[in-house]
Symmetry: C2
């Protein structure tokens, strides 16, 4: 933790900026949805910034960066705090830099937009829709999440069925960062260079601007299809994913009893049925009906985009909102993040853990193929049993992005990214940015 | 061949319609590009309609259908005649019904259009682009081909890298046909029902209206990338196909010496280089450059959509335009239509026929995956050798859609389509529509 004198000096130096020291506000702005994980919950719940700064311009970010370097104070960047594994939790105290007031859309054109990191995703899409475009992908926290937070800590969501995940080449076209050097620099990264800071939890640069490619917007209908049998629902999901003539944005499959947690939707979710929650282009609903018929499904809910916009989107029952709803009913529940890759493997796990793991699939594009990933739910008993379940998944060839760690490398790739590490050495020589999150850095010292 | 009296009766009865009996015109309107095949050339070159009728409305089509049934005169429907295996060649004489004057766009809206069959594809897209949309796919004969002809005799082309082939569910949403019954009926088919007449060469109904789903239009840049090594070019093609963050419309790969046939492009095609001809969204060119670099390619040609629109599109060197250019230099050349499915198989054939088969790949979506298909070129020596080469491809697991037959079933699926046959029994009880093309019908009688 930084010494109080250093913090006081920093506060004095930056008192002309929006600066939060109220403990209630600090607590709120130091945390995210880490408590979805019973492993992370005790580790993170006490973590607090010493203060929160809320810059409105890149120039203010540079002032903050310079002061943090001067007083050697840790700096952790935060968007809306909708992450699930402490990406923006300040483990070593210091400053939380809240980007939500850096919310200008700098340029919005067909196919491409330049934005500040704090622009909220749904608000952006509302504006972009007027010219016929939208973000290529967004998480289930779309209404509140910021674009910068999504790049810093997210990976995919609705739309990934078309464009793959954020990491896919082309899905972030350019960005600007401010460094944490004695004299903070602005660095612009373009094309493949963006991978140096993409999904690095803000450990190697403060993103101040993003150039995001857009997708043509469709009127997305929202549909629930129910199936007698879970594997029938899973096969339907794969078939819809593979149906290149049917344009879709979301294919989310839930084994019974997960639908029991979707209380606001209960009128559309018959007992014992596994379900598909879908977003499909209104132009392709006839083709969708034919596919549903082929897989013996029943459409119980169908709203046009206009109708859907009046209530809660089905999106907010998918991806990690599924976990949120499940935990509202049963707080012992937690989840995994799994790349099943094949339906054979999905079926294996479905049968292997009949009373322990509830299968929740999200289909998305991965290296040009539609594959089943998932956020299966399980009742937490012990860390040992959780590790056993994770190990079993990996033994069977499913890859787990462990949501029960806040360490960058341990969550996803399991290996240190030499590009991201090298970039951190360049832009954050004092190791002040989001400390203790990048294993490669900590092991180096 | 129908008796002269019947033809005369028909001519008298339909003399108020646009009716062509000039032998030069009839010859032109009885043929297509069948001569790409040395096998079809002698079989089809003498085939002629007795007359051509050019209706302007569905009501006129009904009059023609009724008269043909009354006098038992064969009727073969034709669009622009840009097919390659005699789809619209009237084997039994009679009437050729030329649809090119049924060219009204009935409805053009975002995502969907209703058109008459004779609407030309490029002309349609020019109008649709004004509202930000375009046809999902089109052949290399885009400038002249009609939408109805494409549905009747085509299967895919540029855009199939996104939406798969025409046969994919949803790529034709609805259509109307006129039957050849004593009292011709109008039948409307929707959704999966359209498969009964999709790619049936007009053997089971005269299409009078089509409802086509549209794709969002992008500004498509045109790019040539050259590679030292053919398999490097092929791997690049697959990688671009799999790059979900890079929006594209065309990936066409040509092994040296095929580029020598692209004479108008010779300044961009260095000696001994295999090449990729591409259409990629202007918004994604930076990501494309990074991918090209990864595969050690050189970009020798890059035009914006606007620049490309002033000259000949690269499209007109791809798909079966490749064969057209090759045959302009060397008329002994002919081609195959191959589903390689994997690059391993591509490499095998590349090495197996080093001096006999020149590999030309077109990447497209097939059941949700990007796969290499192709229209390889070969120097024709004898039918026996051609059959040997085809057999060898099939033994090795590549599927050949034989372009050297005019029989519907022998070209593609190799099996009789029971739906299409049953539909023919219903709508063409006298077997007058495009006779001798549907094997299932001929074997039945």
């Amino acid at each position: 933790m930084p010494p109080a004198t250093a913090i006081n000096n920093l506060i004095n130096e930056l008192s002309h900026l929006e600066l939060i020291t109220d403990p209630v506000q600090i607590a709120k702005l130091s945390l995210d949805y880490y408590y979805f994980s019973p492993i992370l919950e005790p580790k993170l719940k006490e973590k607090r910034a010493d203060l929160v700064l809320r810059p409105q311009t890149e120039a203010e970010v540079i002032q903050i960066a310079k002061a943090c370097v001067k007083y050697k104070i840790p700096l952790t960047v935060r968007g809306a705090g909708t992450g699930n594994y402490g990406q923006c939790v300040p483990l070593a105290g210091g400053v939380v830099l809240d980007t939500t007031k850096m919310n200008r859309i700098i340029n919005l054109a067909k196919g491409i937009a330049t934005v500040e990191p704090g622009v909220k995703m749904a608000a952006f899409d509302k504006k972009a829709a007027k010219i016929g475009w939208e973000l290529r992908m967004a998480p289930s926290t779309y209404r509140t999440a910021t674009i910068g937070g999504f790049i810093g800590g997210g990976s995919g969501g609705m739309g990934s069925i078309n464009y793959g995940v954020l990491r896919e080449r082309g899905n972030v076209q350019g960005l600007r960062i401010v460094t944490l050097e004695d004299e903070p620099q602005i660095i612009e990264l373009r094309g493949d260079e963006v991978q140096q800071v993409n999904h690095a939890y803000g450990t190697n640069g403060i993103i101040t601007e993003l150039e995001m490619p857009l997708a043509p917007s469709y009127p997305w209908a929202e549909i629930i299809v129910t199936f007698d049998d879970f594997m029938q629902a899973a096969n339907f999901g794969q078939a819809l994913g593979n149906s290149d003539g049917i344009i879709k944005k979301l294919i989310s499959i839930h084994a019974w009893p997960i639908p029991t947690y979707f209380i606001p939707l209960k009128d559309y979710l018959p007992v014992n049925k596994s379900v598909a929650l879908l977003m499909v282009s209104e132009y392709d609903l006839e083709a969708l009906s034919d596919l549903v018929k082929e897989y013996s499904g029943d459409i119980t809910y169908r709203k046009t985009q206009k109708e859907a916009s009046k209530g809660t989107s089905l999106l907010e029952f998918t991806w990690n909102h599924t976990t949120l709803h499940a935990r509202s009913t049963d707080p012992r529940l937690t989840y995994l993040q799994t790349l099943y890759l094949t339906l054979e493997r999905v079926e294996h796990f479905y049968n292997h853990f009949p009373n322990e793991v509830m299968i929740h699939l999200e289909f998305f594009k991965f290296a040009g193929k539609v594959i089943p990933g998932g956020l299966p739910l399980l009742s937490f008993t012990s860390e040992a049993r959780l590790d056993e379940i994770i190990d079993y998944h990996e033994q069977q060839g499913a890859s787990i992005s462990n949501p029960h760690t806040y360490i960058l490398e341990d969550g996803g790739s399991k290996v240190i990214d030499p590009l991201q590490l090298a970039f951190k050495e360049r832009v954050d020589p004092y190791g002040l940015l989001n400390p203790q999150k990048m294993r490669g850095w900590d092991e180096k010292t």
